[in-house]
Symmetry: C2
Subunit: 459 residues, 2 copies
């Protein structure tokens, strides 16, 4: 008897689940229908700032596979512009609204994967829906923004929110020739970094001409008579702009699951076990809509990131295809390239560590990306945060020019294995003059941190 | 009472030991004398190829600190052109030949650090000492070669030996405008890589115009009547050249220690414990002259590398300064940049794994260094070798353009922690379009290796 798999969401997680399930179960054994409410599936949302900046030729380049390919090559019936509006876990049916035809229909399932993704935070403020105020979550958002940039040639932009996307968008708009102000209510850009490291990012932003409004909250969006945005009001003043980009982060889009009685955790993400099963029989969830747990803090977290979504979708698909796989949790590893800086982090910041109850010691090491005598050597800062009592690594941050970002992976692997900074100081890391000083900054930082821990133990 | 520390060798290991000992013990407590037989101390030998290529402005740039700095800032009496010709472990004295004055004298010690470094392999062949045949081990060698290049303007060079130094020198000479032939008796350049990965290096070398003579042994060096090199004879023919560079590797320079009855291991390196003590009381050894052990094979190895030398010297200095430190062993991690390729390896090759008794599975993954749609994405090959039964990672090799080399560090840390490829496939590695595809090649390779291991278990 053919089972029916329904996938809600045509993003990385949903389609990875569908693909993996198909790999293990033929069409005669498993029928797969996937519903995507938008007009694009299977694209790289992380590539959007580079599309706006002009690095990527066009939106098509961000699309990994066209819907037809899923149908033709994998017998996955991917239906676009099809929004699932309700899940009935008792009847094992979802309700689908087809935006092309305007029709609504029920779709029964035996297995269900919820991959509804994340929903962008929009400020509940007057004027937030004005013409010229753009979200930047989806490829459709990107194309809307691109159209406005091309047709209206705005000169002044305000970016709200100084997380990865906000910063990447600020830089992209600078590169498009706009005057850019960045407004954020935090004390520094990038709250995923410690303040000392975040300050470097602020310097970089100012260096390319971004005006920073830190510690300021947007209070209203002022519109002209034609409904078009003309200024952003903050607690302290008015910033005139013809374009606003909202980069205020996002949260798991778990409303549909919650309405169906599928348990949602404290982060707002759908709860799953290691195999990506929810507690409701036959219902799985994966991607930005779920919560996972942090391997250092031990706490539930919801981190919207393509790599996690891909892995979780894959895990769900393997399991419902009859295989065995688990998702092991996350470290909060992230990188970004902003204003010539590579910015990387993993694990806990000092504040996150304190919040999780860890007493810590931190070190920051300034070094070069190549041997000092080698042409092109530039400065790099490496920060390590370790538990005071045990010396266990808890987190790391690196900011520098070329060669900085991918160094964070080694630190993520050290975290994963619960290494101490003492152990790390003996690591056999690679060395050649074009790639690092003879003591890699990671080793120097580990050594200094180990010395601090030793002194703390003696005190 | 003041103790006397004598250090034999002014390289990284010897001076790191001296500096660390000084840090912990004042001059009134510990007198430090270091003997360096050459005219340069404390320089980066790894920088020599870049000096010849013209990337580094002059030899001074490779010198970390002048001898006077050690005397003035650290009260380390560093004596140049001073060769230790004998150690008497019963009388606790070394015999020193001062090449400047021609005088010989005895120098008593309470503690002795042997950091005699490595000695370059020179073929015991007719003509090997002819004018125009250059070693490339020391800064003096580099300056001799530089002088010949400047004064005689040779047009054709033969490099003997296709290890890191041989390849880096071949490239440097190509960049200086010479016609370069590379002769090596192995089947491929870089025997520290598996043949399939080494073949990529061979392609790269040919791509920049190096003529490769693989699987050929040099049988003689032919000289003109004036004693100058004019050709290299191999098993199969004659290669005309006005310049020969020997890059045939090196071995621990342990002759002095061996003559004094200090135990030397099967690799020819001086044996030490984890604290870098030899089995003779008060005698320590560190750097290229010692043997250490490989953390994957468990076997003794001698690997001449500045990072190990630095660490071992530091460990010896801390311990003889009254502190506590250990050297944990090595993984054989190495990187090099040759012909636009970044070449990196860690752990065991397939052949080394087989030799150590491991049954293995290997995967090679071809991917891009950035997201496929991101400008500047180039190809990269990642190879993982895992134990067949357990899936434990045993070795890794990466060849690619930008961003390849430092990825090996993460793999080295995975090896260090005895991770399995299954575990590795769940790692939270960094992702952003400028730095990697959404599935980092390391994750893809780990996943494919895990699938192979699973299939091998089922078979």
């Amino acid at each position: 008897m053919t089972e029916r798999l329904v996938v809600i969401g045509g993003d990385a997680a949903g389609l990875a689940a569908a693909s993996q399930a198909r790999k293990r179960r033929a069409a005669a054994d498993l029928e797969i229908v996937a519903f995507e409410k938008g007009g694009y599936a299977s694209y790289s949302a992380c590539g959007i700032p580079y599309l706006i900046a002009g690095d990527v030729a066009g939106p098509d380049r961000l699309i990994a596979r066209e819907p037809a390919v899923f149908r033709d090559k994998q017998a996955i019936d991917l239906r676009m512009h099809s929004e699932v509006t309700a899940i009935d876990v008792h009847a094992s049916t979802v309700t689908v609204h087809d935006w092309t035809t305007g029709k609504e229909y029920g779709q029964p399932y035996d297995q269900l994967v919820i991959a509804t993704g994340a929903v962008a935070t929009r400020p509940p403020l007057p004027g937030a829906d004005a013409t010229g105020v753009h979200g930047i979550q989806t490829l459709t958002d990107a194309m809307d923004l691109e159209r406005r940039l091309g047709e209206e040639k705005p000169e002044r932009a305000v970016v709200v929110g100084a997380g990865y996307i906000g910063l990447e968008m600020a830089e992209a708009l600078i590169r498009r020739g706009l005057t850019v102000a960045l407004v954020d209510d935090g004390p520094q850009p990038m709250r995923t970094l410690d303040p000392d490291m975040g300050a470097l990012v602020a310097d970089g932003l100012r260096g390319i001409g971004v005006t920073l409004y830190q510690g300021e909250r947007v209070t209203a969006f002022s519109t002209a008579k034609n409904g078009h945005i003309e200024a952003v009001q903050t607690g302290t003043g008015t910033i005139r702009a013809e374009l606003v980009v909202l980069g205020m982060g996002n949260r798991p889009d778990s409303a549909l699951a919650a309405a169906a009685g599928i348990p949602v955790g404290p982060t707002g993400g759908i709860r799953t076990d290691r195999q990506m099963r929810t507690s409701v029989d036959g219902v799985w969830a994966a991607g930005d809509a779920v919560e996972t747990f942090h391997l250092v803090s031990g706490r539930p977290v919801a981190i919207a990131l393509g790599t996690h979504a891909n892995k979780q979708g894959r895990v769900a698909g393997i399991n419902l295809g009859g295989g065995y796989a688990t998702f092991p949790g996350v470290l909060g590893t992230a990188v970004s390239k902003i204003c010539d800086y590579e910015i990387a982090r993993t694990g806990l910041t000092e504040a996150e560590a304190a919040d999780a109850g860890f007493a810590t010691e931190s070190v920051v090491v300034e070094s070069t990306t190549r041997a000092g005598y080698f042409p092109g050597a530039t400065s790099m800062k490496t920060k390590l945060i370790a538990e005071r009592r045990t010396g266990r690594l808890l987190g790391a941050q690196i900011i520098g020019k070329e060669g900085a970002a991918k160094r964070i992976d080694g630190l993520a692997i050290a975290l994963w294995n619960r290494m101490t900074v003492e152990d790390m100081s003996g690591l056999d890391l690679s060395y050649a003059p074009p790639f690092s000083p003879v003591w890699d900054p990671v080793l120097i930082a580990a050594r200094k941190a180990a010395e601090l821990i030793e002194r703390a133990a003696e005190a």
